[in-house]
């Protein structure tokens, strides 16, 4: 069981959260010319590192806020949690 410290609610069990994937991918800017490669990068391509991974989770059974979590994908150690609009 993972325990995730929600920046809004405190330490809660993994059961309250829903996973949202890699938090480092950036959606191409609106109203600008976007190449196919840029869309490809955003929609499909992922680094999926073994080790530190910055990812999105939603506290779906709590405050319902999206948060960022820096977690090790090999050991599951959680180094840091942030509000969705905060940078690491």
């Amino acid at each position: 069981m993972l325990y995730i410290k929600c920046p809004h609610c405190g330490l809660r069990s993994q059961n309250e959260f829903s996973y949202g994937g890699d938090a480092t991918v950036k959606r191409p800017e609106l109203n600008k010319e976007v190449s196919d490669q840029n869309w490809d990068n955003f929609v499909y391509l992922r680094k999926s590192p073994r080790g530190k991974h910055l990812e999105l989770w939603q506290h779906i059974s709590g405050c319902r806020q999206w948060i960022k979590v820096e977690r090790d994908t090999l050991t599951h150690e959680i180094f840091k949690t942030l509000k969705a609009n905060e940078e690491l």
Binding site: M1, N41, R46, S48, H53, E55, T73
Partner: protein
């Protein structure tokens, strides 16, 4: 190579079983090969076997970080099927079914292929319609499919929950009678033994630490046992694909996720088939030892841990008990996990790459075991001929950017969305 038969068994019994030849050797790596296959799992071993058998390329090395068959080929739930709707998946898998049917004879190794049939349960009229459509697509591709109504399902699996007041009543199911199971370890060992006998070097406990690439061409690999040259290199490393891709400065349409499986204590024979729950993600069969072999959802977040987390296991087994209430009486014998190369459309990739001489075999999600022979056969062809076979032409790497996705279920890495 020594042939396994009843005569060799009797002969060696008289000798106290001391004179059996080793099944495969433990060579030190040569400085150069024609082809290097990275990954000594089912797909890698099968690729080396078909390179030697079908294409006469025997100066081949398999480089394995751990021991052969220690990854997903030793961790799966042994299900073999070709019940796909899309042509790419259906024709590819059915080609594989034919290889499965002859595998024990072909490899002179009993892989215990057991075509016991798979039933996908339906729990609504809408789901029956979807299954009927999929069954028709399968039959158009020459794959056997039978749509069963509730009574027909009840005759085959009377121990399932057929009571009236359940959340997900059984409406019927789609059956592929020719689907089944096989002894997973034997598949790895059988391929390894034959590949070795044809001259393939199986190099274990050897980690790939880097690649030698120059002017867009692959020249060789760096390993914990030294540098090895090769003009052609194939990657067959499933959940570790992204780790090696990073060393090649490649970003792939793949995430690595963890999938768990488990077995119960052994019980007397009760279940003849493979059965899947249609209102969630749970599948079950009974091994020859009597254990109920079960699996289901991914843990749900990127993971390289090769061990699972209890909330997912509990969720999966809740579905299992909804389908087969008797499971609640059984003790769990063993649980384990493996890391899956989840592609973004749920279908695999067998293709060339932008680096000349580098070939990619990945994205099997959690359907890799059944694909072992067809994957090895087509990957060997792709490497030997330097172009995909028509069976794996759809499994291209660039289909994501060109929009030619094979969205069998349209789930990709987020399988829990269903």
């Amino acid at each position: 190579m020594q042939k396994y038969s009843v005569f060799s068994l009797v002969k060696n019994a008289f000798g106290g079983h001391k004179d059996w030849e080793v099944a495969w050797k433990d060579p030190t790596p040569k400085s150069e090969y024609d082809v290097i296959i990275i990954g000594g799992g089912g797909h890698g071993l099968a690729t080396a076997y078909y390179l030697a058998k079908e294409h006469n390329i025997t100066k081949v090395a398999i480089i394995e970080k751990g021991w052969i068959g220690g990854g997903n080929v030793g961790r799966n739930t042994t299900i073999i099927r070709s019940n796909y709707m899309h042509d790419e998946n259906g024709l590819f898998s059915e080609f594989g079914m034919n290889l499965w049917r002859n595998m024990s004879q072909d490899l002179n190794f009993n892989v215990m292929f057991s075509p016991r049939g798979i039933i996908n349960l339906a729990h609504s009229d809408a789901q029956m319609n979807v299954y009927s459509r999929r069954g028709n697509s399968m039959r158009l591709n020459g794959i056997d499919a039978v749509l069963l109504n509730r009574e027909e399902v009840k005759k085959i699996i009377p121990m399932a929950d057929f009571s009236e007041n359940v959340r997900f009543p059984i409406f019927g199911g789609l059956m592929q009678p020719s689907a089944g199971t096989a002894r997973h370890d034997a598949v790895a060992w059988g391929y390894a033994r034959q590949a070795d006998s044809m001259g393939v070097d199986i190099i274990q406990n050897c980690e790939v630490t880097g690649f030698d690439v120059s002017k867009g061409k692959i020249l060789g690999i760096r390993t914990s046992k030294g540098d090895i040259k090769a003009k052609k290199i194939g990657l067959c490393v499933a959940g570790s694909t992204n780790v090696l891709a990073e060393k090649l400065n490649m970003t792939l349409p793949i995430e690595t996720h963890l999938l768990q499986a488990c077995v119960s204590e052994p019980i007397k024979p009760i279940l003849d088939n493979v059965v899947t729950f249609g209102a969630g993600h749970f599948y079950c069969s009974q091994s020859d030892k009597g254990e109920m072999v079960m699996g289901g959802d991914l843990d749900g977040y990127n993971s390289y841990a090769q061990r699972g987390n209890l909330p997912t296991l509990q969720h999966v087994l809740t579905e299992g008990i909804a389908m087969f209430p008797f499971l609640s009486k059984l003790k769990m014998l063993r649980t384990w996990g493996g890391i899956m190369d989840m592609s973004m459309d749920g279908s695999p990739i067998i293709d060339k790459t932008h680096i000349e001489g580098l070939y990619l075999n990945c994205g099997w999600c959690y359907g890799g075991f059944k694909a072992t022979p067809a994957s090895g056969w087509t990957f060997a062809h792709t490497i030997a001929q330097d172009k995909p076979h028509e069976l794996n032409a759809g499994y291209s790497l660039n289909r994501f950017s060109t929009g030619h996705l094979i969205d069998e279920k349209g789930l990709g890495t987020k399988t829990w969305i269903s």
